[in-house]
Structures are given as structure tokens and as C-alpha cells.
Amino acid sequence: MSKSKLPQRLVQLGVLVLILFSWWYFTLPGGINQLLLPAPAPVFRDFWVLLTTSSIWPDLLVTVREWVSAVVLASLLGCSIGYLVSRTAYSVRVFDPLFAGIYSIPAILLYPLYLLFFGLGEGSKIALGTTIAFFPVVLNTIAGLANVDKAYIRAAHSMGANDLQLFWTVMVPAAFPVVLTGLRLGCIIGFLVILGGETISSLAGLGHRIVSLAENMESSQMFANILFAVLMAFIINGTVSYVEARGRRSAQ
Amino acid sequence: MSTLDTEKSKGFQSPRRKEEHHVNRGDAIIKVEGVSQAFGAEGDPRRVVALESATLDIARGELLSLIGPSGCGKSTLLNIIGGLATPSTGRVTIEGQTVKGPSPQKVAYVFQENTLFPWRTVIDNVKLGMAFQGVAKAEREERARHSLEAVGLADFCNHYPAQLSGGMKQRVQLARALGLQTEILLMDEPFAALDEQTRMVLGEDLSVLLARTGKTIIFVTHSLVEAVFLADRVAVLTARPGKIKQIIQVEEPHPRKSDFMTSDKLSDLRNELYELLRDEIRKTMNVRAEPE
């Protein structure tokens, strides 16, 4: 197994090198218009400037603030409503399909309304992020709490556990991994949709920065910022998945 | 199915069966000649010899059980005979021809695991085997119904496998193999995944069915009782590397009934088998205990 890993890594590396090479090759003078796709060198130079100066910090701060607010709101709402719904099998059957149904409507449609209600600033992004992150959290909380193995509950009851003990020692640990998955999904799609909201219309933030650079035809700077946002998404993805894996292990 | 045959007396040989034994002893349909199977290169410390110079003749119309400790190469031998694996040395011939790959015209398989295609109904599963084998389309329906009737599942033609119990699924697998109308049937622990009662009932049904079809069958099993109950001969394999240790004759006519199951003859044979196997199983346990 470990022996056959090497050629795969080489192919992956080859693909990346091929992408970089074609990027460099096709942006040579006489190739693709520099406005659409600037050459790698200026993009990496601008990316370096981005990392070493503080010019991006105000916008980064706005995006992070929106994201954190949305995730916190969605988690609080999602977990508490999910808990209430999971109390009886009947309410699960009433509300679970309802939430799943609403979740299938693209939440981005609500964005024009949120712009109307909360304005172009951070409020509309927080509202959009909260809306979209709420659903995975609530659905997974319901699924986690409602599907706890009945044998555990019977065992705890047989040993004389009261409702509070049952909740903290059986329900929460058993549902924890599923809820955690919901929180991870909420974090990730919340971040993506907030970037989307900023792109559509906003006053500040990473998405706003990229759009205004695009409108000013500052191609290499725009690509540097895109690179920055992509890296940030990967970091968020990796961190949240790592935290989920750690939490999952500690729960067992 | 149970109405087919009602002889009870022990030691009574069904005339047809008896005759076959006498006539066919010399006429081996399958010849296993010095077959060895090893995984890993020579000299590699991880090299595993699964099977060592197995030689065996199987007569036409005979039911042979292969029994041995786990990992002794029973399934490997079966796969080599069926052409699903290639031996490191030696060869297998069927009707004089060396086996080089699957020969669906001559050999049908019943696997231990459920290998029914879950997206096809029961009858479509049976028909698909014939399609692979190359049976003309017009013939398939009739033959599939016939073989499903033979295993008593005619009423479940249009069910999906997921709707059947484990025992029923194995019967469909058997019907699929019967539908191929091959001379040889290879069964790799077909009842291993089932509970004891089900496998006993299925074993009885199988005995009746096989007496009627007169196929040549090789049957791999873990169960001593199953081996004795079904087989004309039981081949006992040694612990890895698997060699054929001894072959035990079971003189009892087919179809065999439940009272054979409880007879002294069967328990004597079973004890004899157990004696043969006990040392082999201890060997495998010691081998496993060593590295730890």
C-alpha cells in the first residue's frame, strides 16, 4: 500500500505543475488577455504584498465578524430548536420534514429581502449566513437526539437515572458526533454564502474587495485576493474538520 | 420436495446412485493434479503457501465435501477448480481439458456471500446468469421459472433480493446456478452465514434436489455434520499449507433424510472427522499464538 502511494503523489504533483505551467505559458505576451488572466508572477507578487502588509485587515475583519456572528447565532438557534423538536417522536415527524423542505429552497433567494431589511452592511450577510447555517445544525441536532439507541436509554433507566442525568450522560454524548457534523457543515456553508452575499452587494469584506478590484480591472490584485480567500476557505475547512474529529474522539 | 422420496432404512443404497458409484469410480470428471498455490514471491518472509500439492479425482455424479481448519486453502482449491484463480504449480482438468479461466458452460458457482444483484428481481437474477452464459433469450424465462420452482421459490419471482431472508437468498443463488444447467456445481460454504436450523433444512432440501439432478458437486464447509450429511466423500485438509490429509467415504444413499442426521452412523463419521481435524485446528491456533 505505502509503496503504491508514491506514484499517486507524483501524478498529483504533476497535475499541479501542469496547471501552473499552462497558466504561465498561456499568459505569455500574445496569449490570453492580461485582464482576464494575469501572469503568475505579478499575482504571486501581489499575494506576497497582501500577506506582508495590513491593507487587507479591515476587510478580513468584516468577513470574519460576519461569519462568526452567523455561526454563533445559527448554532444557538439550531441546537435549542432541535432539542425542543426532538423531545417527542410526534414533533420530530411534524418538524423534521418541514425543516428539510425549507432547506431545499436556495436560501440565496432571501438575500434581496435581507438587503431590504438590514441594508447593504454586515446585517444582511449575518442574516443570510445564519439562515443557511441554521438548517444543517437543526436537522443534525434532531437526527442526533431522536436516534439515540433505545438500548442505552433503557439501560440508564434500569439503573435509576433521572431525566436530567439521562440527558447529560446518555443523550448528549450519544448525539454529540451527529450534532458536530451539523455544526461543521454550518460553519463551512455559512462562510461560502457570506462570501457570496458580499460579492452580490456589500460595503466591505473579502467578497466586496474582489468585486471592486474586478470592476477596476486590477486583475493581478484580484487574483491575489481570490487566492487569499481560497486559502482561507481551506484553512477553515481543515480547522473545522480537525475540531470535529477531535470532538468525536473525545466523545467516545 | 419431501414427497419425492421416502426410503428410510439405513444402509439402503438408491439403485441409481449405487450404480453411478460403481460405473464412474474410474471415470473422473475433475482431476486435480499436484496443485499448489502460494502468495508472495519465493524467499519473501511474508510468503504464504495456501495449498501444497493437492491431488484429487472427482467422479462424475459425486458429491465431495472439502473440510479443514480456517485458512487451509479449501476456498482456494475451489476457486482453482472453478478457474477463478490460477495455481502456482500443477493443473486441474475438467473432462480432460486444462482449466485456464472460468468455464461457465461446465461449472456453476454458489458463493458464501450474497452475490445476487440487488437491482434485479429474483427471476431477473436467475436469467442474468444465463445471459452471461450465452443462453438464447427465448429459453431463459422457462428455465428460470423451472429452477426457481426446484428450490421452492416460484412465488417470489418478482421480489427484490432485499425483500428475502438470508436462507431464501441462498436458495435463489442455488436456483441461479441450477439454471445454468452445468454438469458441475461448486459451492463455497453456501450456508455459512445462516442460522443452524435454516442450514439443516436447506441441507436436507439440497440432498433431495441433488439426488434428482445427478450433478457433480464440490462443497466447501466448516460444519462437520453438514459435510457428512451431504457428501459421498469428505476430503479433510491439513492446516496451512493445506494438503489433503485423508478422504472419508460416506456410504449412504441420496436423498438423505432427517433420520440420517440423528443416526449413529453419522455421529461416528462425524467423530472420526473431528479426530482428524482436532490436531490440525490446534496447529493453526499455535501458529496464531506465536507472534504475539
Binding site: 410526534y90 418541514l98 431545499s104 433567494l109 474586478a214 481560497v230 | 461457465p104 456453476a108 437491482w119 452471461f132
Partner: protein
Amino acid sequence: MTAITTTGVSVARRGPLLSPGLTRLLVIFLLFAIWQVGAGLWGDPLFLCTPVQALRALPHILSDPKVDNAIVVTIYELVTAFVVSVAFGLCIGLAVGLNGFTKQSIMPVILMMYATPQAIILPLFVLIFGIGPAAKIAFGISHGVFPVIVTTVAGVQNLRPQLLRAAHSMGASRWQVFTTVIFPHMIPSFFTGMRLAMTAVLIGVLLAELYVSTAGIGFYSRLYAESFSPPDLFALITVLAVIAVTLNELCRMAERHFSRWNIG
């Protein structure tokens, strides 16, 4: 929300008098009633309208041929992006998934691209393809193609080797193995992929539509918001939501139909 949930609980304690489906409808009705009364009493008509007003605005916006045209163009973009995503995704997924080597070497690259926040490259799509349907279709495909690839690869991958062995033992040819074993096996996950692709394409196309505010749906949503006529905006969003739900539901029905054997 809390009040509604406690109703559900108390109903359950008395023994469910109503079927869950009926209670669900009641809950929805109740929410609309609260909206209607609340918006009627306290809502600022410049920002909020009642559901009845929104319903009344429906014929008004639909009678404008330019709005109708924008909606039809959106549907066209959605369907085109979906079809192209599925076709491309299936081909790429099969090419990558049927071979162990390509799967293990190319798949991580694809997953990495899947995890990129595509929203931020939206301006780039508009720069390249202009503000017409092409940019929106391309952006929709960039969302839709990945779920199809990932589920196709997963569908090919989960095949139990015993099934292949059984087919092999009965003399199946390579082509027969593909058409009767591999392909049917991946059908359910392929349809799951199609449903996910539909969700993703909706997000992509609508995002692009809303971004380009000089034409199409984006133009009208901005127009209605800036002219402070919330009934029109609500009506437009309702139409789009109905389209989204219908397309989603079609995919879900197809998925259920083709995975019957899987549920048993």
C-alpha cells in the same frame, strides 16, 4: 417557535389527534397567519408586506412580459447548466472512478477544487463571459459538476467485489459487466448526485443572476427593492422559490424511482 413546539408536545401527550402531515400544514398556516397579522398591524409598508399583498402582486409582475422573459431565461439557464453538469460530471466521474490509479491520484485534486468558495470567482466569470446567460450557465456548471463527479466515483467504488466475481464466474464479458453490474450499481448514487447537482446549480445560477443587477432577475429584484415595493419583491422571490422546489422535487422523484431496489 417555542410556542409552536410546545403545542406539538402537548398534542403528543394526549395521543396524536392529528396526523403529523396535517399538523405540519397547520404550523405552516399558523406562521403565515402570524406574518399576515403582524405585518398588517406593525409592518412598515416600505419594507414589509403581508402574504396576501404578495399574492396579489403575483399577477401584476407576471403580466409584465419583461419579467416573464427574465424568468424564462433563468429557467433556461438552470436546465442547461444542469444537463451539462450531469453529462460532464458522469463522464469525468467514470473516467476517474473506474481506474484505481486515476481515482487515487486525480480525486484529491477534484475534491480540492470542490472545496473552493466559487462565489468569489463570480466576477471573473462575468469578466470572461459577459453579463448574458453564458456567464450564469458557466457559473452554474462550476457548481453542479462536482457533486456529480464525487457521487459517480463513490457509486463505482462501493461495488462489492463478490458481485464482480460472480458475474465473472458466469462468463460475463467486460461490456456485460459494465452494463449489468457496474452501471446499475451506481444508479442510486448517480441520482443522488443529480439531486445535489440541481441544488448546487440553483445556488450558482441564482447567485450569478442576483450579482448581475443590470439585467434579468437581478435587475428586477434590485428595482423592486429600491422602489420600495415589497409585494413585488416577495412575489418574484415566491416564483423563483416555486421553480426551485419544483426542479428539486423532480430530481428527488427520479431518485426514488430509480433506487426502489435499494430500499427493498
